[in-house]
């Protein structure tokens, strides 16, 4: 895991460091443990102290060309070899190659009696001999406190311990000394921290809600900056991994590239036609709202484009998801076969949150996907602060890698769960899936609560789970608001009837008008004809009158002429 690239750079250069080779720990230590000085690792039984020491030695021998010596006061060499074989450490081979020397120190109180002064020169001789045998640069003393059990906690032992630490420094070896954690307020049971002042690391193993989480803290590191938080770590087949919280999480480079959601309708609702690449999308909804299907469509589209994806499932087995998706016409199996898609599924209760997070990041760093789906994050149980911090780190880690992530979250049907509200600030886009109950049916509505950095639709859109996946339905927005399901259908039907009715009424009125217009026009023609007749008659009679007048005039003139002439 390349966590070094997210850790701040060390401020100092003079202090030489010996890398532990443990994922994440070197980032917290800004390089490693102080070279040539002793480091104390304190923790309760079962915290992994011995494994830390051994990993330090094995990595030193195999990766950093620094042979090592393990002086074990608790476990015999053969037992150690068997115990760590499951982690892939072959101690016997390292011993054979002279890269590692193991000296088991057995102290049996019942066989020891004291008579007069003594020193621990035997221990020094053995350690010196082992160091010379392999040319060791690293030494682990696990657990030195066994000396107190075997020899008693007397002034001789204390004086010799002080001498031992000076001697280790003189030999120039980088030493790790493990110690049992003491009671309240005490770092170690026998006060070993008094002798080791250069670097102190505390390990812890807490059980919360029946799930164990291991944590690590650098308590002191003289002359060096170091991460100060309590960092979770885990031990599994891959050895020890420490996962530092990335405080530098807001410094990631951002992208303007767009990743389609896999559903055309959602792309249209998002102003830019999809999610921003490298953004985090939260999809919250009650059960049965199609969260997994929408996630699968997102992945389907990504794989189709040739982008690698990981589907982290915490509720269903991959085969079950694949089968269920086939019923809505989404075939993810072909992407699994082509190697574009990887399913990772685990019961949430299997590990603590930290374990899940580390396993996820490990898988992500191996597979290098551009798309990640986590279905659902609500499956993670734990204290709210722990869930939050885990998700915060997950989101940060994905953003740093430029991975577009879709998180689904199961919420109660009608309220926005508190978890969701807290998560919201981590997410760039938040899609709410909603059951709309009305008129005796449940319909599904989808809306965008937010989408940072892009304009987006404010509508609640109804969607259907079809045999081609999720499809958004054109919104019906009438005088009575948004209608869904059969209410929408009946509203649409009655609307269509009303339109038909209106169309028919208009046609009838048109016909009536047309016939009235025709009648009126016929009437106008009749009247005009009558008028014309009348006008003709009038003219005829006028002409007759003139003729009569003229005739009369002519008669009068004739009469006058006759009279005048007469």
């Amino acid at each position: 895991m390349s966590l070094n690239d997210v850790a701040p750079r060390p401020a100092e250069g003079q202090l030489a460091k010996s890398p532990t080779g443990i994922d994440g720990l070197d980032a917290i230590l800004f390089g490693g443990l102080p070279s040539g000085r002793p480091t104390l690792i304190a923790g309760a039984a079962g915290c992994g102290k011995t494994l830390f020491g051994l990993t330090f030695l094995v990595n030193g021998a195999m990766r950093f060309d620094e042979p090592g010596v393990l002086m074990s006061f608790e476990e015999r060499g053969e037992d150690l070899t068997t115990n760590v074989a499951s982690l892939g450490y072959d101690l016997a081979a390292l011993v054979a190659q002279k890269k590692l020397a193991i000296d088991y120190v057995r102290l049996e109180r019942s066989e020891i009696a004291q008579s007069g002064d003594y020193d621990l020169e035997g221990l020094f001789v053995r350690l010196g001999y082992a160091i010379d045998q392999v040319g060791a640069k690293r030494v682990v003393l696990d657990t030195l406190e066994a000396l107190f059990a075997g020899l008693g906690d007397g002034p001789e032992v204390r004086a010799e311990l002080r001498r031992l630490f000076t001697w280790l420094k003189d030999r120039g070896v980088t030493a790790v000394i493990t110690a049992e954690r003491g009671r309240e307020g005490q770092l170690t049971r026998s006060g070993l921290e008094e002798y080791v002042s250069d670097c102190v690391i505390g390990l812890d193993n807490r059980v919360e809600e029946q799930i164990t989480t291991r944590r690590l803290r650098v308590i002191k590191y003289r002359g060096s900056a170091h991460g100060t938080n309590e960092y979770p770590f885990l031990i599994d087949q891959g050895g020890i991994s420490v996962l530092p919280i990335t405080s530098a999480g807001l410094e990631h480079s951002i992208s303007d590239a767009i990743v389609p959601s896999g559903v055309a309708g959602i792309d249209a609702m998002l102003g830019q036609g999809g999610y921003y690449a490298g953004s985090s999308v939260l999809m919250s909804g009650s059960s049965g709202t199609g969260k997994t299907i929408l996630s699968a469509q997102f992945i389907d589209a990504a794989c189709e484009r040739g982008e690698r994806s990981i589907f982290f499932s915490f509720e269903e087995a991959p085969s079950q998801i694949l089968r269920n998706l086939r019923s809505v016409g989404i075939d993810l199996a072909r992407h699994v076969e082509s190697g574009m898609l990887r399913f990772e599924s685990a019961r949430p209760s299997l590990f603590g949150l930290e374990m899940h997070l580390v396993l996820m990041m490990r898988e992500i760093d191996r597979f290098k996907p551009t798309i990640v789906v986590v279905d659902p994050i609500s499956a993670f149980r734990g204290s709210a602060s722990e869930v939050d911090s885990t998700l915060l780190r997950l989101v940060d880690l994905l953003k740093v890698r430029g991975i577009t992530a879709l998180f689904t979250n199961l919420v109660g049907s009608h309220e926005l769960d508190l978890t969701v509200t807290r998560l919201s600030s981590l997410m760039d886009t938040w899609i709410g899936l909603h059951d709309i109950e009305a008129n005796g049916e449940r319909n599904r509505g989808l809306y965008l609560l937010k989408s940072r950095g892009m304009s987006h639709s404010n509508q609640i859109r109804e969607y259907l789970l079809t045999d081609r996946g999720v499809e958004l339905v054109d919104p019906y927005i009438g005088a009575e608001g948004v209608l869904t399901g059969s209410a929408r259908l009946s509203q649409e039907a009655s609307e269509r009837a009303a339109i038909l009715h209106r169309q028919q009424a208009a046609a009838r009125r048109r016909r009536e008008f047309d016939s009235r217009q025709a009648a009126a026009e016929r009437h106008i023609v009749d009247m005009r004809t009558a008028l014309e007749v009348e006008a003709e008659e009038l003219e005829a009679s006028a002409r007759q009158g003139e003729a009569e007048e003229a005739a009369l005039e002519g008669g009068r003139m004739t009469i006058a002429a006759r009279r005048g002439a007469a």
Binding site: G116, R126, Y129, L151
Partner: protein, 112 residues
């Protein structure tokens, strides 16, 4: 084990004293042990003095931590007496040397 004596003829005690060179403490331990054993018949003991500075591998082989250390390998159980052996009584107790032989030296005058 080559240290183990024959059941009949060999010495009754197999002892190893691990010392560190010629440090005063080592020399004192040798002197004290000689003095303690001188009260016993010498054929009872198979004693070897081993300098772990000379034979460092012996320290780890025989689980030596403190110096000086006197180890009673035989008879079982194994006992380790650490220190310069200046406390005679403790050494004898530690070696579990039979009380009769011890009393033969210390207790006889009282009986008379």
């Amino acid at each position: 084990m080559s240290d183990a004596p024959d059941a009949d003829a060999g010495p009754k005690y197999v002892l190893r004293l691990y010392i560190t060179g010629t440090t005063p403490r080592s020399l004192r331990a040798i002197a004290n042990l000689r003095q303690i054993l001188s009260t016993q018949p010498s054929e009872l003991f198979d004693l070897q003095v081993i300098d772990i500075y000379q034979q460092p591998e012996a320290a780890s082989e025989h689980q030596i931590i403190a110096a000086p250390t006197l180890v009673k390998l035989f008879p079982e159980p194994v006992r380790r007496i650490i220190g310069d052996l200046s406390d005679n009584a403790r050494v004898l107790r530690g070696l579990e040397i039979e009380p009769r032989s011890a009393e033969a030296v210390v207790g006889e005058p009282d009986l008379e």
